[in-house]
């Protein structure tokens, strides 16, 4: 590779349409540039197209249209070569059920051309680093969810890939195991591995990722650092009010309250967007006078409020 590429992953105009009884436009023209050494998050609800995007990057899914390069290698032209630079932890547990923990990593190394001694050394080292050395002889069914996930990550990086794809790496894990996985991922970045991960936990995207793209219905809605994205909603706080009867007059009355920048109607109430909430609540309640108020909640700017702002929907339904 003569020229220096700073993008670990470049996705251009990626489209994937699944043919079948029902045609599904799973990915609808995605453009993405992931820089060397960053942790990039794809945040989106179920069915948004996250797994499909990862599948296309990892040669598992043939795009309907578009280009993808990883580490400068064209994934569509030369998938076998591209796989040298790719590590994947899929959404489902794909550990080899016929091999123990050590062998899962060891044979993975062999698949990537390492000789026996080197593969043994690498597997031993990774199991130690991932705190799995005591379970080296355990078969996958005997591992806890958190251990299995650590083993999957160890295996995925065993051949020293440049780019690691993690599809919902913490789904179904308890909070402690989730933190352990976050720590591992941060460790990988320190070693210079680029990480592209998907998640539908906004805290995960917020705390772990350097940059985040919010994806919905196969399209990227916004893309930036978590701070930038929160800035996108103007650093606004969201207030949700549930009432018995939603009326246009009420909406107008709320919109006239000083400090409220916009009002969105929902079937069961209103969403108010505001910059400062000091002293706002009494004013809102005053405007609501005479209504059957059911519930009030206040949310500081988070990636979730960004998502709601962009789509009008909650991230998790």
């Amino acid at each position: 590779m003569g020229e220096l590429t700073t993008s670990a992953i470049q996705i251009h105009d990626l489209v994937k349409v699944f043919q079948g009884r029902q045609e599904v436009r799973a990915v609808d023209s995605i453009d993405l540039d992931v820089q060397d050494g960053e942790i990039f998050g794809l945040l989106g609800p179920n069915g948004a197209g996250k797994t499909t995007t990862i599948g296309a990057c990892t040669t598992r899914i043939r795009p309907t249209k578009g280009q993808i390069t990883i580490n400068g290698v064209d994934v569509l032209q030369d998938p076998a070569h591209a796989r040298q630079f790719i590590g994947v932890v899929p959404q489902q547990n794909t550990l080899d059920r016929s091999c123990n923990a050590f062998e899962n990593v060891y044979y993975h190394c062999r698949f990537f051309g390492m000789a026996s001694g080197e593969a043994t050394q690498r597997a031993t080292q990774l199991l130690t680093e991932f705190k799995l050395n005591e379970r080296a002889q355990a078969m996958p069914y005997a591992l806890s969810g958190g251990m299995a996930q650590r083993l999957q990550i160890a295996r995925a990086i065993a051949h020293r890939p440049r780019v690691l794809f993690l599809d919902e790496p913490t789904a179904g894990l308890d909070p402690q195991s989730r933190l352990a996985v976050w720590e591992l991922v941060r460790g990988l970045r320190r070693q210079g591995i680029t990480v592209l991960m998907t998640t539908h936990y906004m805290e995960e995207a917020d705390q772990l990722c350097d940059r985040v793209a919010i994806i919905d219905h196969g399209k990227i809605l916004v893309n930036g650092t978590p701070a930038e994205l929160k800035q996108r909603v103007g650093g606004q706080t969201m207030m949700e009010i549930h009432v018995a009867n939603v009326s246009p007059e009420l909406s107008e009355r709320l919109g006239n309250v000083a400090g409220i920048s916009s009002v969105e109607s929902m079937p069961n109430g209103f969403r108010l967007w505001t910059t400062g909430r000091d002293g706002l609540l009494p004013k809102v309640l005053e405007a609501m006078h005479g209504c059957d108020l059911r519930d009030v909640s206040v949310k500081e700017p988070t990636l979730e409020t960004v998502f709601i702002r962009l789509t009008g929907r909650e991230l998790r339904d």
Binding site: A80, T94, R110, F111, G113, R160, Q191
Partner: protein, 277 residues
């Protein structure tokens, strides 16, 4: 965390890596087979063991023994037949059954599919390893079918190259057949395979009778020609028990080569469809 610096995989790039990757896949399968060696021997040996025991040991002793018109003992007819069944069965056991589970239920296959060789290589490895397992099965079954019968079993290996070619081609064809089946079925349909594939191809595979004698039932003699097991049995007959009438060698080798190529092509195509959508 030390010594984890990102670096290129050592074994080189591109095509030179394909071969080491392929060997890695074989080594993984060898490891799994070694762990399951006893079940493998039982699974492989039980059918031929009981078959020769009942039909060629017990039957003659209780006065129910049968032999062909030309005086060939049943044991002599069965020798090549049972070996060919064992070879064929490995294709189902070593490829079809594990693959159907690894595709859909567990997705285990995907770590191997992510290896740095063309995806077809992963499918071909399955066929090659299945073939190795078939050869091993033939070696396990051979002494049983020779030693157990109470009536004499006449075999003579005059043509080693023929024997070796038939065994290798039959083993590859079986692996390819397993690949076709494994990529076509869902795990919950495995039971069906025995009824729909294993039983018919065995009973209509010239295992228990030589093809030549089917001339009494002409239509059947032609019909069974679509069954690859026929050529495995007849090829082994030509190589092991040449005194029993058998198909011409050119027909056997030609048909086995063709079966391997067609089933292999079909199976690899099915494999690619399953793993790359």
């Amino acid at each position: 965390m030390t010594d984890l610096a990102v670096s290129m995989p050592r074994a080189g790039r591109g095509k030179s890596l394909w071969w080491s990757s392929f060997i890695g896949l074989i080594l993984r399968d060898v490891r799994v087979l070694r762990r399951d060696f006893i079940p493998f021997v039982i699974r492989t040996g039980m059918n031929p063991l009981l078959f020769v025991f009942v039909f060629t040991y017990v039957f003659p002793k209780i006065g129910q023994g049968f032999s062909s018109a030309n005086g060939t003992s049943f044991g002599t007819v069965l020798l090549p037949g049972l070996i060919s069944v064992s070879i064929m069965f490995q294709g189902i056991a070593a490829v079809a059954m594990p693959l159907s589970v690894e595709f859909s239920a567990t997705g285990e296959i995907y770590d191997r599919v992510m290896s740095p060789l063309p995806v077809a290589g992963v499918a071909i490895e399955k066929v090659v390893f299945s073939a190795l397992q078939s050869v091993l099965a033939a070696v396990i079954v051979f002494p049983m079918v020779v030693l157990i019968p109470s009536t004499p079993v006449h075999f003579a290996i005059h043509d080693w190259p023929l024997l070796v070619s038939v065994v290798i081609l039959a083993s590859l064809a079986s692996g390819a057949m397993g690949l076709v089946i494994g990529t076509a079925i869902q795990p919950q349909q495995i039971g069906l395979i025995f009824g729909v594939v294993v039983v018919p191809v065995t009973f209509l595979g010239c295992v228990y009778y030589p093809w030549f004698l089917l001339h009494h039932v002409r239509w059947l003699q032609y019909l069974v020609l679509i069954n690859p097991i026929v050529y495995m049995s007849e090829g082994l007959r030509a190589a092991l028990t040449p005194d029993v009438p058998h198909m011409p060698v050119w027909a056997v080798l030609g048909a086995l080569t063709l079966s391997t190529a067609l089933l292999g092509w079909w199976g690899v195509r099915g494999f690619l469809k399953r793993v790359v959508s």
